[in-house]
């Protein structure tokens, strides 16, 4: 009797398995033109056969192939996130780079060059009123260039902030859409391949925006975790993320009024910014919280643009106030040329200007010495072009070199991002190819492929370390 029941159970299982094969075939026909739909193939497994022990054999539909398909989908999504990251970085850095001219024909480098030349011309004709007037005008132009650069970069920071907000909204919208699909699946439609295809299309779109791990459950729903640990969706419950500006309190900020950073929070209010590193959202955060503050500052750094503006203004003012306008007696001391908001280290470039009360004849020319030099001050100012004295340098570099390095940093970052984007594109194509390669491959065939792959992989890997060394050597020798 027991064997009879076992046989009946076995037959029922077999019929169910074949039923699912037919269901799969029907789904393939019905969804042939559905976007994102991948052809399904149901694997059947032979069960052990031992009638004496009540083990009656038969076939069952397996989960391994489904798991493999999902694994391949996740691999594609992972590379899609990588692509989203690099693409966003390239787009944003291209815009930022346009604010840094290193040709010397416009912006800060041109204005700086003009000011240094005007110092030199003034040194040659120290009593020439026009030369003094030119110095004041060039100083005004340079201050304006610093202001413009600062304003433009701050505007980029605001744009990026908005983009982050929009990206967060898009993430929440897509998760909400998938939540709806989960709801449908929970109503007993887990085998609906059309539904599955719509889920995957939404997941692909989501992968470009954020680094999300998707895990399909046995009831056909999908769980979503941001960066592998912050829940976005569990069954039909969504956990929304949000973005906001914030000024960190720990450690105590050096610049209390510096530009705020952008923070991403989970639905429970926890700060997940540092974990949000992938896809478009990760790139935008990197740009907004790290790259841009390195130029315009934040709570903990003044930013290189402000450092340069402050150092230049202070040094020029120091040289001018150390000199005399007339020998006297009594000797009349020079006045400072530049002013800026000294209460906020992150506002120097934006607030840099020439004191409007300063007239050309108030510029000190005489270096009191001893010995007194009639054009000592303009000569000392001219030396800023090719500094020898550490006081004439900023972080050990001339002002032109410092700006060149600052601008070059954007160029290097853009160059790296562009190269990485190319590599990422190849990795994405490769992941799609691997997904395609395994579609419709039986588990037996797969086992053979995996063994062959391991052997070939080991053989190929051996040459990589050699080539790594050789290509490095080529650069080092030719450098």
């Amino acid at each position: 009797m027991a064997n009879l029941l076992a046989t009946l159970v076995s037959s029922a299982g077999t019929l169910e398995a074949y039923g699912r094969v037919l269901e799969t075939a029907q789904n393939n026909v019905a969804n042939a033109s559905t976007p994102g739909y991948a052809k399904q193939r149901l694997e059947l497994y032979a069960l052990p056969f031992d009638p004496q022990g009540g083990v009656t054999g038969g076939v069952r539909a397996g989960k391994l192939v489904t798991a493999r398909n999902e694994f391949a989908e996740q691999a594609v999504r992972q590379q899609t996130s990588g692509m989203g990251y690099q693409q966003q970085l390239v787009d944003s850095l291209t815009v930022i780079q346009s604010n840094f001219d290193i040709s010397g024909n416009q912006g800060i480098p041109q204005a700086l060059n003009n000011l240094l030349q005007s110092f030199s011309a003034w040194g040659a004709t120290p009593d020439n009123q026009a030369a003094r007037q030119t110095v004041v005008q060039r100083a005004t132009d340079l201050a304006r260039s610093f202001q413009q650069s600062s304003v433009t970069l701050s505007a980029r920071a605001s744009d990026t902030e908005q983009q982050i907000g929009q990206t967060v909204d898009q993430v929440n919208q897509l998760v909400s859409e998938i939540q709806g699909y989960n709801h449908i699946a929970m109503q007993g439609n887990k085998s609906d391949s059309g539904l599955n295809a719509r889920m995957h299309a939404a997941l692909d779109e989501l992968a470009t925006l954020a680094d999300v791990n998707a895990t399909f459950q046995s009831d056909g729903t999908v769980s979503l975790m941001l960066n592998g640990e912050t829940p976005l969706l569990l069954e039909d419950k969504q956990f929304k993320i949000s973005s906001s500006l914030y000024q960190p309190q720990e450690p105590t900020p050096i610049n209390a009024n510096g530009p705020a950073n952008v923070r991403i929070q989970g639905s429970d209010g926890s700060d997940i910014t540092s974990k949000t590193t992938g896809a478009q959202l990760g790139a935008l955060l990197h740009l907004r919280n790290q790259i841009l503050p390195s130029f315009i500052g934040d709570a903990y750094q003044p930013g290189d643009l402000n450092t340069m503006a402050k150092q230049l203004a202070d040094r020029v003012n120091q040289l001018l106030t150390s000199g005399n306008i007339t020998d006297g007696p009594p000797a009349q001391a020079g006045v400072p040329l530049f002013t800026y908001n000294a209460s906020d280290a992150t506002a120097t470039a934006a607030s840099l200007s020439v004191d409007p009360s300063v007239t050309p004849d108030q510029l000190a020319t005489i270096s009191p010495g001893p010995p007194s030099v009639s054009n000592g001050v303009p000569l000392a100012l001219s030396a800023l072009a090719s500094p020898v004295d550490d006081a004439d340098k900023v972080n050990g570099l001339s002002f032109s070199q410092f700006y060149g390095r600052l601008a070059g940093r954007v160029g290097t970052a853009l160059n790296d991002a562009t190269n990485n984007q190319d590599v990422q594109q190849s990795l994405l194509s490769q992941a799609k190819e691997l997904r395609q390669q395994y579609q419709g491959v039986s588990l037996d065939e797969e086992a053979t492929i995996l063994m062959q792959f391991q052997r070939a992989y080991q053989a190929t890997s051996k040459f990589l370390s050699v080539l790594d060394q050789l290509t490095e050597n080529a650069i080092n020798i030719l450098r």
Binding site: A67, V423, L427, A447, L450, L464, V466
Partner: protein, 120 residues
């Protein structure tokens, strides 16, 4: 050796790496076998030419080509790693699904057994 000849050599090695990348874009075992031969050939060539590189030290054109070669290498390495990670991770997952976990919490090793695969 002149700059032009050196640049040509570096370019030739780079083209081989680019070809390896093409193979790795569709990383079947057969493609990997072919890739292995290509990388070996590129390695041999570079090792053979390397002693002459110092004659062109400081040459901007040669250095630029060396950087291009390096970038092609990085792409090759990343693609090989990408394919390796895919298979390694799937093996680990499949091992866990079929054999559970070992005492140390690792995925159970996947035992392939002896199989014969017949292709039509």
């Amino acid at each position: 050796m002149g700059t032009a000849a050196l640049v040509e050599q570096l370019m030739s090695a780079r083209q081989q790496l680019d070809f390896a990348c093409e193979l790795l874009a569709k990383p079947s075992p057969e493609a990997l076998d072919s890739c292995s031969s290509v990388l070996e050939a590129a390695g041999h060539q570079l090792a053979e030419w390397q002693p002459t590189f110092s004659q062109q030290a400081g040459d901007a054109a040669a250095l630029e080509e060396a950087w291009k070669l390096r970038r092609s290498f990085v792409r090759t390495a990343r693609l090989l790693q990408g394919a390796g990670d895919f298979h390694r991770n799937w093996l680990r997952l499949r091992g866990a699904m079929t054999g559970g976990y070992t005492e140390t919490g690792e995925s159970a090793p996947l035992i392939h057994g002896s199989r014969i695969s017949v292709h039509g």
